[in-house]
Symmetry: C2
Subunit: 548 residues, 2 copies
């Protein structure tokens, strides 16, 4: 279980990380003595990202940690005084000095759940001014975390369950913390490791990485390596000149190469061979070579094989190669052929364990296309498209007032998609015979929950004629209480448990909701009571138009 005692790791996640209008509204509420009115807000989104029909909810623990440490420092208040000016009543700043989340309650769907439009992810209750003041920070913490976790889950679906997925995005991320947030939530969403060392240290995520082109470019042959000795894997002996052994392997390979699937005379770049040898001496049991600096199939792959054969002689198993340009499907197929052929020709079974990693501008489309072309890639390194969510770089979650001092609040809009569902609500997920979720249903607070095996009338919230009886085989309450008037009220999972939850939740979802092309929308409905409540309020509040 995670504790909320430590403050947010990003020291900038504080009360002032908000929109100024939250402060000015708080003042106007305070001035009108409405600041302690009891308010309920719903945090939800209106459309799943990436033209998909599901979203992974993340950012809850970050939000709770922010709440647990919520408050304004003297320095903050000093700054606000200078901004708001002399006309502001000094009593307001005295009020702000003592604001905290001790009178706030948070109900939420568990983090890592698959979630759908219109269903509140977080329901916040508390004094109007306080629950208004936290709006922007909660949205900032939930929006990107959920977006990037969803993106990672989609990449995982496209690559299949066996591929090892590596997140390499830090350098292209939207700022240092954009990178760190992405690394964390990509892991939760379905990736196996990150290149981001800070994320590894802070979040206990496996880290991965080998070398860059600059490493290969910086070697001039293996004579540059002053100490070329390398111990055997079992420490039984030391090879005095591993470089010499590599050269011998290359020479044997050259004699044989015309019989290989390449069927050409072999002439590899010897600077590259030097770089690979140096890297193998440094990491004999984790030797993974970037093979495209000069020419992937004519130089990089055979050089890798020469070094790998030498490593095998010393009892090590070579890790593999990384492809970073060109036609990845073709190159992976050819590379695998060369590796298999060499393993057989040189009677070196260990060589077959070498993995093929591919990177270079990979997105969901690339993954689908590679699959169609029968690629032989074992692992994908993904950067820009994953961490910046290039296909849709923002999730539009909103935070709307639904009740004030027991009275429902409803935002109307000419656009029915923007109408909010008023009042405090409960929510349930109804599952069918095969265990897969059929629909989510929202009820007025206190209504009787749906019961397993009994017909429950589910209604479209805004379209009268759309309704259906559902006889659920399983009923899951959507909300738990996570924060109850100043106290953590629920156990929080570790990052690894969250990752596991995402995997299970995505697996449980029906295939047609997950597919990339024209997925079936998942149904979100309301109870009959809630339906009637919405529509009575709507008629009460909507002005009757005047045609002219």
């Amino acid at each position: 279980m995670q504790s909320l005692a430590t403050p947010p790791e990003n020291t900038l996640v504080k009360a002032l990380l908000t929109d100024y209008y939250q402060i000015t509204m708080a003042y106007a509420y305070w001035r009108s003595k409405k600041h302690n009115s009891r308010a309920s807000f719903d945090l939800f989104f209106r459309k799943s990202p990436f033209q998909g029909e599901f979203t992974i909810f993340c950012g809850l623990e970050d939000s709770l940690r922010f709440l647990a440490h919520f408050g304004f420092s003297d320095e903050d208040i000093q700054y606000l005084k200078t901004v708001m000016g002399d006309t502001t009543d000094p009593g307001f700043f005295e009020y702000l000095r003592h604001v905290d989340a001790s009178d706030v309650t948070v109900h939420a769907i568990p983090e890592g759940s698959v979630v759908f439009p219109k269903v509140p992810l977080i329901r916040v209750e508390g004094p109007l001014a306080v629950v208004q003041l936290i709006e922007t920070t909660l949205l900032t913490l939930v929006n990107f975390a959920s977006l990037v976790a969803t993106n990672a889950a989609r990449f995982r679906l496209a690559a299949g369950p066996k591929a090892r997925m590596l997140e390499f995005g830090l350098r292209r991320a939207q700022g240092p913390d954009g990178g760190l947030t992405a690394s964390k939530y990509c892991y939760i969403g379905g990736f196996d490791a990150t290149s981001n060392v800070m994320a590894g240290k802070l979040h206990d995520i496996p880290i991965a990485g080998t070398h860059a082109h600059s490493f290969v470019s910086s070697f001039r042959g293996m004579e540059e390596i002053p100490d070329r000795s390398l111990a055997y894997a079992d420490k039984s002996d030391t090879c005095k000149d591993f470089g010499q052994l590599v050269k011998e392997k290359l020479s044997q390979l050259q004699s044989a190469w015309i019989d290989s699937p390449a069927a050409v005379h072999l002439e590899t770049n010897l600077d590259e061979l030097g770089a690979f040898t140096a890297y193998a001496i440094a990491f004999p049991s984790k030797f993974l070579a970037l093979v495209d600096t000069y020419d992937t199939l004519r130089s990089g792959v055979p050089n890798f094989i020469a070094v790998a054969l030498a490593l095998c002689d010393l009892g090590y198993a070579p890790h593999g190669i990384r492809l970073d340009s060109g036609d990845l499907a073709y190159q992976s197929i050819e590379s695998r052929k060369y590796i298999s052929w060499t393993a057989e020709r040189f009677k070196c079974e260990k060589l077959n364990s070498a993995l093929i990693v591919a990177s270079n501008d990979i997105n969901e489309d690339t993954l689908n296309s590679l699959a169609q072309h029968g690629h032989r890639i074992d692992s994908f390194g993904v950067g820009t498209h994953l961490v910046t969510c290039q296909a849709q770089p923002a999730l539009g979650a909103v935070y709307k007032i639904v009740e004030l001092d027991g009275n429902p609040c409803m935002k109307l809009s000419a656009d029915v998609e923007k109408v909010t569902i008023p009042g405090k609500k409960d929510g349930y997920r109804l599952h069918g015979r095969d265990g897969a979720p059929i629909c989510d249903v929202l009820l007025r607070e206190g209504e009787k929950a749906p019961v397993v095996g009994e017909a429950f009338l589910c209604r479209h919230p805004f379209q009268e004629q759309k309704r259906a009886h559902v006889r659920p085989q399983k009923v899951t309450p959507l909300y738990k209480t996570y924060w109850d008037k100043g106290e953590a009220a629920c156990e929080l999972p570790t990052i690894h448990e969250l990752k596991q939850r995402v995997t299970e939740q995505v697996a449980e979802l029906r295939q047609d909701h997950k597919r990339r092309l024209n997925p079936t929308p998942y149904k979100v409905s309301v109870s009959s009571d809630l339906y009637t409540y919405i529509h009575e309020l709507w008629l009460q509040h909507a002005p009757i138009g005047e045609l002219s």
Copy 2:
């Protein structure tokens, strides 16, 4: 002048905020005793973002601050030991413990400059392992800062110099720091203010904001306001019931409204009127009303006018309205008509100073389209599209080795766009008769600089036939030394000076390079000497293909 003595404000910007392969490469260099080889790297990008032909360079001060505090803590090293395992030579960790930027030199183009593809923004020299270790963090700090500043500059160009531009993006940003970075660099790139209070406090950026729909929804008439007294602007007296005054103004407005351009019977929402009144009592000299909660033209704008007339009676000048939905051009034109008509009818000249602010999913296209429709908007609030750079969420700057121990390094590629320009280089910007830049030219280090009035042969770096004599009227050296072996070597501008520099640099650029549709590419060229050097090296290193 800014000092580098304070560490980066984001406590996560540290040596471990890097890709793991930087560490593994550093180890392999160290193992091969190459770690102190003298290396030069260029940081540059290959294509300007947003289908444009210019980029604003930002992130230099953040990079220098990172460098000034660069190093690994004991805790960092402990973590790396657990990750790298027992086979790693302990001497490497001893080496890492003392690594810093004291032997590193940084030349760069001044921050806030307009910059172009292929021209190094930052040139780093130092020990190979050290300058390799800083790669990822420099890219993270430069990529997003430059991208979002460029985006802001483009929004500013589209909106024109007079519009007041407000950045409202925090809630949709890519993480808390993504939001903070965006707020800072949008201000530098051309925006006037941000809603982000933390950005205001940390960076001395003006902050802006009024109230949300929830504020309006949370009022039930003005009877809810317990104290409706309001002092006159000159403090000469106090209006005992400002709410009553507002009601009288609304009543007068109702009698007159049929003669207004609206030409209908006036019936506004009184809950909204209550909310506006409460807000005006809190902020009488900064009264700006969000007018679209119920109905912009039938309720919000007339309610605003009623409150504004009452404020004028007390000697205040109302600030204005915010439109947040619907047809912004039409609504701004109509709102302006109503305001002008009332100002004249009620002999209240101050009302005319009310500004019209518009928000709601604004991007470059919207700004251009609004201009075509003759909008009357004075100020734009921009969020998602601005801060997440929705049109292109990543800049692809790279960091490539160009020289090692005096020998040039050149990355070859089948894609000529990816070939790097080898060796240490100087750079100059050549200006024409009207002062506008004509082209940038890169020279080999130590070559004689172009001279005002003398013809200089500028060559395309990769296409033999493209060359031209340029007779510059002004020659600006591109690079300054910012960090010289452990010491800050150049004054750093304040954020306001940076903003000023961006404005001047964009203004100086020829219009055809800046236009949105099919802008003219700006020429980046090399000297004859550098051209020859590139192409001799290319022939030396490129393998001769084998057709089969």
